[in-house]
Every structure is written in C-alpha cells, then in structure tokens.
C-alpha cells in the first residue's frame, strides 16, 4: 500500500515536472519558429 502511494506520487511528480518544462518552453517562445530553428543548426557560431 505504501509502495503504491509512493509510485503514484512519484509518477505524478515526474509527469507534472515534464509537463511544466514543456509549458515553460512553449511560453518562452522555443516553439515559435520551428522552420528557423531547423535551419539555424547549420549556421556557424558567430564568434
């Protein structure tokens, strides 16, 4: 019983933090320019 409670609690924690990271990434504009990001990886660093 304690095992199940622990498993569920940790599953919730992990799931929620993954969701949180994704929502943060969305909010900070990391999905705003998928086309540009695909091309930018080909650019050399300016320095």
């Amino acid at each position: 019983m304690t095992g199940i409670a622990l498993i569920i609690a940790s599953a919730l924690t992990v799931g929620l933090s993954a969701l949180g990271v994704l929502l943060w990434a969305l909010g900070s504009g990391q999905y705003d320019d998928p086309d540009g990001d695909a091309e930018r990886i080909l650019l050399d660093d300016p320095d």
């Binding site: 569920i8 799931g15 969701l19 969305l26 909010g27 999905y31 705003d32 320019d33 091309e39 650019l43």
Partner: protein, 732 residues
C-alpha cells in the same frame, strides 16, 4: 529636373513617418519589426542578421523564418529604421515595416494554445490510463482502494479535461450562440457529460468511470485540431500583404515648389507627386510631366502583363504600377482608399468572406448527426424511465449513448485524410494551405486560367527570328546581353552565349547604345532608334549608323505541359476557360495553341473578379489558376485557387495551393487526390457511423462498460487512421 530634387531630400524627412512602427519596450529597448520576404534558408538568416546587426546602433536582430518577421532592437543609440530597411533591400530581400497593431490577430496565439492543450491532455491520458487500467485488469483490488484510485484519477482528469477541452468548448459555444451546431457541440457534450458522470460514479462508489475515455478523446481530437492548424497557419493575412504594397510615403510638391514627404493616405486629388524610377505609384492619377515626354511603367499589378508599358503625358496611371523609366510628376485624381490597390484589397477580403461561408464536410455531417444523437439519448432516457428504472440509471444510460456516439472518429477522420493527402501532394510539388481547400478542389467543374505566367512561361521569346540575318542578331545580342530587360534577354537567349559590346550604355525606359566598328548602334524602343512605329511597346528596334533599322518582334511561349494538362482536365469532365488582361490577338494565339475554346481578353482585375461572381451565381464551382497580382481578387473569389511558385506574393497568399516547381502538371494529380480524399473521408464517416450504430444498442440497454467505451473509441480512431493511410500508398 527631377533627379536633383530627389537628392535634396533629407533623411529626417522620412524618419518621422516610421516612428509609429518603433515600440519602446518596458526595459528601455527600442524594438522595430520588419516583414522580410524571400528568406528561405540558413544562409538568408545569417546574411540578414549579420547585415542588420552591423547597421550603426543596432544591438540585436533576429529573424523568425516561420513568420518572416525580423525583430530589430537598439538601446540608447538611436539607429535609423531606414538604414535597416535599406540594408535588407540591398541584400536582395523585400522589406516592409511591420505594423504590429494591425496584425495582432486573434489567431496569433492559437498554435501555442493548441500545443499547450495537447501537452496537458497527453499527460492526463497517460496518468489516468495508468490508474484506470489497473482497476480493469487487477480484479483483486478492494473497493476502498478502487475508490481511492477513481478519486485520484478524478483529481487529475477534471482539470485536464476542462483545460484541454477549451478549444472545443469555445467553438461549440460560438456555434450555439449563432443558433448552429458543429462537430464541437457533441464533442463538448461528451467531454463534459463523461466527466460529470464519472465524478458522480466515483463519489457514489460505483464501477463505471470514463476518465480515461474523456481525456483520451480530448487528446486524439487535439491531434486532429493541431494538424489542421498547421495546415492553415501559412494561409493568413493575404489582404495585409496587399495593403503593405501601397507605398507608405509620397513626395508632394508644395505650392512654392518645395518637396515635402507625406504619408500616401494624406494625398488629395490635385496634388502633384514626384515619382522616381523604381517607385510605386501611390494613388491613381495622370502623368503630368516627365523627361523625354513620357515614362515606362511596370503595370503587372494592374494588368498582370510583365512587359513594361510606355506612358505618354496625360495618360492615366493606376496605383500599384512601378515606374521603370524616367522620373515623372503625377497629378493625383483619387485618394488612396479610392485607388486600385485598396480596391483589390477590398475585393480580396470580400472573396475570403464568401469562402468563409463554405461548410466543411465534417460540419455538414455534424448538422445531421447532432439532432439524431441527442434525440436518441432522449428516447433512451424516456424509455428507461417508462420501464420503471430510477432517474440515476436512466440518466447514466442516456449519457452512455452520448459518450459512445461521440464523433471522435469523425473529428479525426477528416484531418487524418487531409494530412496524408497534403503530404503526398507536397512530395509531388504542390503546397496545400488548408484542409478544406482539398474538399473544395474535389467539387470543381470549371478551371479558369490566367494567360501570362500561368499558361505561358511569362518570358517573351523572339518571334521573327527567321526574318533576321544571323549577323544582325549577333550584333543585337552584343548590346542585349548587357541588359536585364525581358525583351533584351529574349534576344540574348535567341543568339546564345557570346561577347558583350564594350562600353554599352543603357538608358532606362529607352534602350542601349554602344560604338561598334565606328558606328553608333542603338537597340531599344522605336523612339530611341528614331523609327515611327504604330505599336508603342512589345517590339525592339536595332539601328546601326545609317543602315536600315531592324525590327524585333516577340511572343510569349506556352508552357510545354499546358496543352496536355488542359486535355487531362477536360477528360475529367472539367471545363476550361482563359482570362487575360492582354490584348486579343496574342490571347487568341495562345488560346488556340493551348486548346482553350472559351477565353476573354483585355480584362482587368475587377472584371476577372466579376466573372468569378457570375460563375458562382450560375452554380459553377471554379478552380482559378493565376499568378499576377491582378488575379488575386478573382482567386479569392473562386471556389478554390492555385498559384504557380513564380506568382506574386499576394497571389500566393490569396490562393489555397501553391505549386513549388515550375510545372503545372501537379494540378491534375491534386484534383485526383482531392477526389480520392473526399471518397476516403466519406468512407471514414460511414465506418465511424457503423461503429457507433453497433455500440448504440449496447449503450442504450446499459451494457457499456468503461472498457467497451475505451475500446470503441481507440478502435474506431485506429480504423479511420488506417483508412486514411491508404491514400499515401495507392496511386489515385
């Protein structure tokens, strides 16, 4: 006279006018946004960003390739927005200041919102599934533990469904508020009812909860919704691009002869406006004066014909034309909002509104489906009550009917087929911008083509080559190779590669000259060569010293695949028509060559749009294929439209599909795929209906367990997905 005045402009005259595009952010940084056109690849990003960052004062520049928007920041040092625009244009890209206020449409955040909902529902699906699956397969769970699991699932599924269901709730609410129904009405009902029923069951300690079904339903449908959004995303703001074409600024003569820079919208009829070479005519007007008694204009916006047209004094100039010859003075006869470009923008908007009235297949299905299903649920409710069941049991079974008949498969059926179809067409070189464009394409019975640039390549070829001696042609080519003028390019192409005469001088709007073997040779317009010619444009003359001048005539070349394409269309029961702004004689020649019986020549953008309207009223479903800015309004009015990849930006935005390559051939395949996709969608509807109809008796008589509900949902979704994939495999 006019050249000197152009130079007398101070940069500050212009700077004030752009200030409304510059925003000061809270952290004190100034932000200037530019819409950049033509950037496609990593190189463009690097070039533009590096170029703009090196403009004095600019601290940061970042280009968003997906939206084509360049954000330029600067701090205390004021950078000149004009320097930024000039730098981008120097790099070879079109740049317009981006009016953030005008473009902050309601759908700006839609993609982000859908992604957020998708992420939340994915999390909810996995989590509730884990909890509820344990209950179905672990029969040994004690009732107390089971209820704990249910309540846990409820605490996750409730906020998740309410959050992730927002796109459906909003759309359903909008439809109901207008007294209509759409797909989202039964979807929202199923989501809310299954959630409510499940919460009731968990609290009561019952067995049947549908948390996983509700969350999974939202998840699957959001996938369909997001795919649909990605399809529509690039199809936005055609009218806005067109309005951006109106020149923002104009140079007006003050009564004392001084020049002032004003915004184009401040111009009044009667104003005298200075037009330099390369500038767009801001308002309709007449040509008042120009060096050499006239100038040349690129009127492709107005007529769609790419060859420059010579205008003499007193001629009427239409807004949107570009001066390619001598600088000129224009006397305005209309205000900006009464000028042609604004007219086109209005037509375009009207066309898009008409098209907005198109009812998608899925929504048509929903209109029949919703009353049927709600009626059925009511009957089940009444039936159970009449046979002596309690209110709770009657309600439970009625809700079970609504859940099991939820058009989950329908919501997925259409986007799944459309994504597969557009993916297949993309590989063949056709970019489809919206899903319902395919539905509309499947219905067409008439195809209307523009001539120049659509049925023809748009580049002139030499017509009377056999009448010109080879040495004369080569002589003309030594001059022509130095020029980018389309007619000169045609001569150079006819002669093949070779040398350029030393010291060639080109006079814009007139021609070229050089000393060859001690003789002054001139290639250009009739006036330039001192010849009288009844035709003002479309011909070049060559005159060397005292020798007899030689005439070069040109014609358009039909696309090699055009004739076969039109025959294929007619073979599919689609009539063909040609509309062109060109003169009757060349139009007749091209029509005959392409095999078009019905054609109309010498008509402008308004007449083209009017023709579309007439055809629509006759009940025809028209496919319009066009490339010019002058076709944009007609294309927006047509049932569905396709633009070649070489088309003007506005036409590409106004069209539903854009050809990526230079060939028209994918059009036939597009029609085949669209018709096939329509069949598949209908099949999917039938499949989903059969699935639901089998499940309805089970639900009505109270046999639907959560396991059956989840299985039917996943099963029917899987079935329609697999059916959709057949489109990718089999040739249409």
């Amino acid at each position: 006279m006019t050249g000197a005045m152009t130079l007398a402009l101070r940069p500050t005259d212009l700077a004030d006018d752009l200030s409304r595009y510059i925003h000061r952010r809270d952290d004190g940084v100034f932000q200037f946004e530019v819409a950049v056109k033509g950037a496609r690849c990593a190189n463009c990003i690097a070039k533009i960003e590096a170029g703009v960052t090196s403009v004095a004062g600019v601290s940061e520049a970042r280009l968003n390739l997906s939206t084509g928007k360049l954000t330029v920041n600067w701090k205390q040092v004021a950078a000149s927005p004009h320097a930024v625009l000039r730098r981008i244009r120097d790099l070879g890209y079109e740049a317009q200041p981006f009016d953030a206020a005008a473009s902050l449409g309601a759908d700006e955040g839609e993609g982000r919102m859908l992604l957020r909902c998708l992420a939340v529902s994915a999390f909810g699906t996995v989590f509730t599934m884990g909890l509820t699956d344990a209950i179905w397969y672990g029969g040994e769970l004690s009732p107390a533990l089971r209820q704990t699991f249910f309540l846990l699932a409820a605490s996750v599924a409730t906020p998740v469904t309410l959050y992730a269901g927002q796109p459906f709730f909003r759309s359903a609410f909008r439809a109901l508020a207008r007294g209509r129904t759409n797909m989202d009405v039964p979807i929202s009902a199923a989501l809310i009812l299954s959630l409510g029923l499940s919460i009731y069951q968990s609290v009561q300690g019952g067995q049947n909860v549908y948390f996983d079904a509700a969350v999974m339903l939202a998840f699957l449908l959001l996938i369909g919704r997001y795919l649909d959004y990605r399809l529509r995303n690039r199809a936005r703001d055609a009218a806005r691009h067109l309005l951006a074409l109106q020149s923002l600024l104009a140079r007006r003569f003050k009564p004392d002869g001084e020049i002032e820079t004003v915004a184009a919208r401040e111009l009044n009829p009667g104003d005298r406006i200075l037009l330099a070479s390369g500038e767009r005519v801001p308002v309709n007007g007449t040509l008042e004066s120009a060096d050499g008694g006239g100038t040349e204009l690129d009127t492709s916006l107005v007529t769609g014909e790419s060859a420059p047209v010579r205008m003499s004094l007193g001629a009427a100039l239409q807004a949107g034309s570009i001066v390619t010859g001598q600088p000129a003075v224009l006397r305005a006869t209309a205000r900006v909002e009464d000028s042609l470009v604004a007219d086109l923008a209005r037509l375009l908007e009207a066309g898009q509104q008409t098209r907005g009235l198109y009812v998608r297949l899925a929504d048509r299905a929903a209109r029949a489906y919703v009353p049927f299903v709600s009626g059925l649920a009511l009957m089940v409710f009444a039936g159970w009550l009449a046979s002596g069941a309690t209110l709770a049991i009657a309600a439970t079974n009625a809700i079970a009917v609504l859940i099991i008949t939820c058009p989950c498969a329908l919501g997925l059926a259409v986007p799944a087929v459309q994504i597969v179809a557009t993916g297949r067409l993309f590989q063949r070189g056709l970019f489809v911008k919206s899903g319902d464009a395919l539905e509309r394409l499947a219905e067409i019975d008439l195809a209307v083509f523009d001539k120049t640039g659509t049925l023809t390549t748009g580049q002139p070829v030499l017509k009377n080559r056999e009448k010109i001696a080879p040495d004369i042609l080569e002589l003309a080519a030594t001059l022509a190779r130095a020029s980018h003028h389309p007619l000169a390019a045609a001569i150079a192409a006819a002669a093949g590669p070779g040398p350029v005469a030393p010291g060639v001088r080109e006079t814009a709007g007139a021609g070229m000259e050089a000393m060859i073997n001690g003789r002054l040779c001139r290639l250009g317009s009739a006036a330039w060569c001192g010849v009288t010619d009844d035709l003002l444009d479309g011909r070049l003359w060559l005159r060397c010293g005292d020798a007899e001048p030689v005439r070069f005539a040109f014609q358009e070349r039909i696309r090699p695949e055009a004739r076969a394409l039109l025959a294929e269309l007619m073979g599919r029961g689609i009539a063909v028509e040609m509309l062109t702004g060109d003169r009757g004689e060349p139009a007749a020649a091209i029509a005959a060559e392409a095999g078009v019986a019905n054609w109309c020549a010498g008509i402008g953008p308004r007449e083209k749009a009017a023709r579309m309207e007439t055809l629509r009223q006759q009940g025809r479903h028209v496919l319009m294929v066009g490339d010019g800015l002058n076709d944009a309004a007609a294309m927006a009015l047509a049932h569905v439209s396709i633009a070649p990849g070489t088309a003007a930006d506005v036409s590409q935005s106004a069209s539903d599909m854009v050809l990526r390559g230079d060939s028209l051939e994918p059009i036939v395949e597009a029609i085949d795929v669209a018709r096939k996709a329509r069949r598949l969608v209908l099949q999917n509807f039938a499949l989903a209906a059969v699935y639901n109809l089998t499940a309805i008796p089970l639900a009505a008589f109270g046999f639907v367990t959560p396991l059956i509900a989840a299985a039917t949902m996943a099963g029917s979704s899987l079935l329609v997905m697999l059916n959709a994939l057949r489109l990718a495999r089999r040739p249409a």
